[in-house]
Symmetry: C2
Subunit: 261 residues, 2 copies
DNA sequence: GAACGCAATAGTGTCGACACTTTCTTGACG
DNA sequence: CGTCAAGAAAGTGTCGACACTATTGCGTTC
């Protein structure tokens, strides 16, 4: 008997509209799951700001569920490094510093290079061909897609390499990393500094894969990622500024609102 | 301001005696944490068997807490890959097949080699010296230690390399991997096939570190881990046999106990 | 005699409540 | 005026209860 693992890794772009709305109608059966997705989205989009304390009651009200599923979701997010937990004080949004981000990218580079190498050793020709055709199918339209699509396709490309490595651990890890850096990648894609060099990178990587040239392929990958990192640096600074500067006085209101009907 | 992450990674060898006993006296304040440690231990030691469905009520009784902290612990364990969650059916002990174990070891090898390389590039002399002295301090007594100590010291050695890489992500990942394969490493250490070649491996690795010889060091590491893997294969088979054979009929009692005052 | 429902039971998912801890407010004292 | 302490308020950690879902056992039909 095969045990089905739920894999809640990727559920990118849906599931948060109408969470509260639906709550009235249905008796809810997967509040935890939905809470998880919603909260993660809030984190990824900086709606919950780094370092901020997370108020469970407030969150549970805005999502229209009780605190229990909120806590379950937060526990999972804590294991995944999105938030941290201090006993008796609650959950805090993990502050993703520039430094931490670099570590994450470095980790990503390690995973991807290893995956590529393993793919070269193990994948059979038809599998390599899957990679090639995946890329060829999207390459033409690629630069003209909206940011969301570019991001998804890019992640798909790299994730496929991980899959072809034959090691599910790598796939899981890369998924997790992707989720954690997605927000910044999105920002970077929308940032003026984003250029089309990615395309040639990907094409070159595919080429190396077809030739089973692990050495050159990993070099390309490493450079590809490093290039992204440096391009991301400025974008990150701009983004952080944007997050902390336009203070629409939400904090102040919070103080007042004590008792609401 | 630096946010301190709680890091529940390592709490190796304690925290489960007197869990139920203490529950009477104190009003409990960290049941979740304790449940987490206890359950993880149960998993690691095969007290909860691979593929088995986890009964929350049963668990909560035996730990003397309500289901809430149990579920929080299980959620964390699910994120970490120890158990899986199927909606409306509950948590299942993740079946760690031989195959899955190989993937895990491979992943470990990837992390460790990368860490070593980074360490060679970045660690200053005093840090490298910490590694050297760590090993020199324990090497003589090493082979004569009890299995628990050997395991802890070995993990400490490899973890130190990860720390010296300067990338906290790697440390976290390696901790997590260690926890997941600890049970089998223990079995392997106690197994007759365990030999003292580890010692010379570690010494050689230290030597390479001192010389900042990344290439040779990673090669040694890779071989070191691969050697462990192959030595582990037979030990694993023996262990699995031992786990599934002695059925002490605990299941039957469960049927009777329906209503208790 | 086997397949199919159907009721009874076991078990999960969620909720609201309460005890305890931390944080904020207020007022006395130096 | 600033510091500190006591009380109030807010918030977390845990519990028991209940609604809903899956599973098991039993009787019916073909």
């Amino acid at each position: 008997m095969r045990t089905v693992v739920t894999e809640r890794a990727e559920t990118s772009a849906d599931s948060d509209p109408s969470l509260a709305a639906e709550a009235e109608t249905r008796r809810a059966a997967d509040s935890s799951e939905r809470a998880y997705n919603t909260i993660r989205k809030l984190l990824v989009e900086f709606k919950l700001k780094p370092g901020e304390r997370i108020n469970e009651v407030q969150l549970s009200r805005s999502l229209g569920v009780s605190r229990t599923p909120i806590r379950e979701a937060l526990n999972r997010l804590a294991s995944e490094g999105f938030v941290s937990l201090t006993p008796n004080r609650g959950f805090f949004v993990r502050s993703l510093s520039t430094e931490g981000l670099l570590d994450l990218y470095e980790f990503r580079s390690i995973i991807e290079c290893a995956a590529f190498k393993l793919m070269c050793e193990r994948a059979d020709d038809s599998e390599i061909d899957r990679l090639r055709s995946y890329w060829e199918a999207i390459v033409d339209a690629y630069p003209d897609q909206p940011p969301d699509v570019i991001l998804a396709e890019d992640e798909g490309f790299h994730l496929l390499i991980a899959e072809l490595s034959g090691n599910p651990e790598l796939v899981g890890q890369l998924s997790s990393i992707n989720a954690r850096i997605r927000f910044i990648r999105r920002i970077q894609i929308e940032h003026p500094s984003h250029d089309k060099a990615q395309i040639t990178s990907h094409s070159a990587i595919v080429e190396a894969a077809v030739k089973r040239d692990a050495e050159n392929g990993t070099k390309l990958l490493r450079e590809h990622i490093e290039m992204t990192v440096s391009a991301t640096q400025q974008a990150l600074k701009d983004a952080l500024l944007k997050v902390f500067a336009p203070d629409n006085g939400a904090e102040l209101k919070r103080r007042r609102r004590a008792r609401d009907a």
